[in-house]
């Protein structure tokens, strides 16, 4: 199981929790599981999210591998100037 930290305003879509656990080995699996387990998260995931893995931010990268001890944080999809 991978622990995923959500940002505060997603709490309402995840049964009031800001940290959830899902079974996933890659980002793609993680996003799919999150959307299935917490349908309230699906619209945000569809709009776009970034993921931080052990402190490094990734914007797409479905096949990034996640270890069981990895720190995973869901973040909004971001752009720069």
């Amino acid at each position: 199981m991978v622990k995923v930290r959500l940002w505060g305003s997603l709490r309402q879509a995840a049964d009031g929790r800001t940290e959830v656990e899902v079974e996933a080995r890659t980002f793609k699996e993680l996003l799919d599981r999150l959307g299935e387990t917490y349908p309230g998260l699906a619209p945000q995931i569809a709009r776009g999210v970034s993921l931080s893995l052990d402190g490094v931010i990734y914007r797409e990268a479905w096949f990034t591998e996640i270890g069981p001890e990895s720190e995973v944080v869901l973040m909004p999809y971001m752009t720069g100037g």
Partner: protein, 745 residues
């Protein structure tokens, strides 16, 4: 993609201050910018813009304009297709209003005519039947229930019930229990801040030359930060296939985020398709200010608690951002960045995006971060003053470091904030004596930095020179830095490499030149492409020598037999291998296509000395020093240039730049006369200190440097003003009337 681990190395090319390859063109006037191109039979396109901040368009009568001799096409929103996708529809509706004009300057119609005078005359003949609606241009007014609603039905599911329909999204970040943290503080400061919208202020107005032919093919020449994204947007709006639309990026006269989307490009294409001739549209400066993408304007509350020895116990911010008449997500980035420089047990940020009758926001260097960090760094400084603590010591005491759980969630890996603060503290500027009446301020700054999609094709020419093809417009010397990295990796001199920027038909997709990504991400793709070419060249040498390819290594620009074969054959240089490439299997090239992550966040610290004229409220910047981590400065001069340019844009933001709307909802200052960007005589030299703390996610340790520099000046100057004049301002810009008023004058 796994991160490409940084390996320490001695650089031969990278780090040299070489001449940029486009330099001569740019100092002789030969470089071709957006407005400099022409096409046979070209028409002049011009756009009619709404004089109203908010109005329903009941009808547009274009018949008189169409009848005018010399007019070849007239366009309105009705000529463009309905769009399913919210994002594309917003972009399209911003380029050409459909049902409503949403801000002063919103495009409502366009013409293509044989010359500018005819086009101008035609615009006057277009009759728009407006029903003027109540408008709202201020974020604090628009957020209130009962305010005029800019667009209905745009709120996301995360907006709490009961708010104005103008609130389109809400976000919350952070951890811990701020209330508990505030209870442990010896002093808590809570302040309200406002920042005006600013504009990127690039000197080159938007320009586009479009040519659509009757077989459905199209060419588009325009000044943009990203020709591929322009193609994506324009193809969607025009209902074209990507392959049929070739977009060529001209030289670009500044962007800073403002040229990351489209405004006139689809209009030029649509006019060209309608007229059957090439159409060129060049914006006037007035149009640039009224109808391109300024920043959000903001209203913020920040609350921070501190112990008397300078430890922050809790921090909280409420951010209300408005990016104009369309939803935008900039507040999310502002909320995440607000407290990024601090190691906090209890922190929370809340953000709301609010619609107003202003132009659709575009990115501007570190979008969202300058505004929130200005408020945070102001309150931290006030706490330092309250306790009589040194502002750098307090920041060092609370600085985010490796292992800090960041205010936006992830735990920081190696970051350079402490090293940057320490460099600032020991710099002579920080201890230089001040004259009476002068004040010194500091501020930290932060930006995420991004990587993104990048394609590079690298060709080894038979004469031993190298051509690099990349897809990102060169906005500040990137051709030089890309060439340097290619030369470094190949082991040849910089002068042997020429880098060009390709059009959309010549290369795979490249993300926009934004997010401080090009030197980092395109550089990484360049290094990988070079390695691919090296692999091919080693293989050719191996064949020539009759040994295994694995037994050849690349050293100092040549293939060298290694292992058991070491010394058996003299090294073959790149030029020697290239010279026989036709005989050994054909042309040699390397290419690499990747979506790069691992950009590595960037911190900066600025020190500024100012003097406030207490009789007029005018602030003079006396001395300025920027400290920033570049990971590895590939071309130090252009790294310094990014730091200096960002700092000066921040100085302008702090002191004078602002969008001023009248009670009528119209922009009062759409020109460089009254939108006051800093001029040369306003400024001192901008000293720079580049720190090089390698980014583990890049083979040379490179980090993006483009954006962080605009973040610290806002608070640094406000903090310096406070120490010079004894007044703490909470609204930007700190224009002389505001300062004088705060002084009681």
């Amino acid at each position: 993609m796994s991160l490409d681990e940084y390996r320490k190395r001695e650089f031969k090319q990278v780090g040299q201050r070489v001449r940029r390859p486009d330099g001569v063109d740019k100092v002789t006037g030969r470089a071709m910018y957006g407005a400099d191109a022409t096409a046979p039979g070209m028409l002049v396109g011009r756009i009619l813009r709404s004089p109203h901040a908010h109005a329903r368009i009941r009808g547009i009568d274009t018949s008189a304009a169409e009848a005018l001799k010399g007019v070849k096409a007239v366009l309105t929103g009705a000529d463009l297709p309905a769009q399913e996708d919210d994002f594309i529809r917003d972009v399209q509706d911003n380029c050409m209003a459909r049902d409503k004009a949403l801000y002063d300057g919103h495009a409502v119609a366009a013409v293509a005519a044989v010359d500018a005078a005819t086009a101008r005359a035609a615009l006057k003949l277009i009759k728009v039947d407006y029903e003027v609606l109540p408008h709202v241009t201020d974020v604090d007014v628009a957020i209130k229930p009962g305010a005029p609603v800019v667009q209905k039905g745009r709120s996301l599911e995360n907006v709490p019930a009961g708010m104005s329909e103008n609130v389109t999204s809400h976000c919350e970040f952070g951890h811990g229990d701020p209330a508990a943290g505030f209870a442990r503080a010896d002093h808590v400061v809570e302040r309200h801040f406002r920042t005006a919208a600013t504009h990127q202020g690039y000197i080159e107005p938007h320009a586009a030359l479009a040519s659509v032919t009757s077989d459905g093919k199209a060419e588009l020449w325009c000044c943009t930060q990203g020709q591929f994204f322009v193609r994506t947007l324009c193809a969607a709006i025009m209902g074209m296939e990507a392959s049929q639309l070739r977009v060529t990026a001209s030289e670009i006269g500044g962007g800073f985020g403002g040229k990351t989307t489209v405004f006139i490009e689809p209009v030029a294409l649509a006019l060209s398709r309608k007229a059957g001739r090439p159409v060129k549209i060049v914006m006037t400066r007035d149009e640039v200010f009224r109808a391109t993408g300024p920043t959000v304007h903001t209203s913020t509350d920040v609350k921070i608690g501190m112990t008397k020895d300078g430890r922050i116990t809790a921090a909280e911010a409420h951010l209300r951002y408005s990016g104009g008449a369309f939803p935008c997500g900039t507040v999310d980035m502002g909320a995440q960045a607000a407290f990024a420089a601090y190691d906090l047990e209890h922190v929370r940020t809340y953000g709301w995006n609010v619609l107003t009758n202003r132009p659709k926001e575009a990115a501007y260097r570190a979008p969202g971060a300058p505004q929130s960090i200005y408020a945070v760094e102001s309150v931290v400084d006030e706490l330092c003053q309250h306790f009589g603590l040194d502002p750098i010591d307090v920041r060092l005491k609370n600085a985010a470091r490796k292992g800090t759980k960041s205010s936006y969630g992830p735990t920081f890996p190696d970051i350079g904030l402490i090293a940057t603060l320490e460099a600032a503290k020991k710099h002579p500027h920080y201890s230089a004596p001040l004259q009476p009446g002068q004040g010194r301020g500091i501020s930290c700054g932060f930006w995420f930095n991004f990587g993104g999609n990048s394609c590079v094709s690298l060709n080894i020419n038979t004469d031993g020179t190298v051509g690099v093809t990349e897809g990102n417009p060169d906005i500040g010397g990137s051709r030089a830095s890309i060439s340097l990295m290619a030369a470094e990796e190949l082991g040849i001199e910089y002068d042997r490499v020429r880098t060009i920027v390709a059009d959309t038909s010549s290369l795979g997709y490249n993300d926009v030149t934004d997010g401080s990504r090009v030197t980092f991400a395109v550089g990484l793709a360049t290094i990988k492409a070079a390695r691919e070419a090296v692999r091919v060249m080693c293989g050719r040498a191996a064949k020539i020598w009759g040994i295994d390819a694995e037994a050849v290594e690349w050293k100092d620009g040549a293939a060298v037999p290694a292992g058991p074969n070491a010394g058996k054959f003299p090294p073959m240089s790149l030029a020697e291998i290239a010279a026989v490439s036709f005989e050994t299997g054909g042309p040699i090239a390397g290419h690499h296509e990747v979506n790069v992550d691992g950009a590595g966040v960037s911190f900066g610290v600025h020190i500024v000395d100012v003097e406030v004229d207490k009789e007029t409220g005018q602030t003079t910047v006396l001395r300025y020093t920027v400290f920033q981590d570049a990971g590895k400065a590939v071309h130090p001069s252009y790294v310094e240039g990014q730091m200096q340019g960002g700092a000066v844009q921040g100085i302008g933001w702090a002191l004078n730049e602002e969008y001023i709307y009248g009670a009528d909802g119209r922009l009062q200052n759409p020109g460089f006369l009254d939108y006051r960007v800093p001029v040369a005589s306003d400024l001192p030299m901008i000293d720079t200190v580049i720190l090089e703390i390698p980014n583990p996610g890049h083979p040379y340790g490179v980090r993006g440097v483009g954006e962080t520099g605009i973040v610290p000046p806002l608070a640094a100057i406000s903090n310096a003003v406070s120490r010079s004049a004894g007044i703490r301002l909470s609204e930007l810009p700190m224009s002389p009337p505001r300062v004088l008023k705060a002084l009681g004058g």
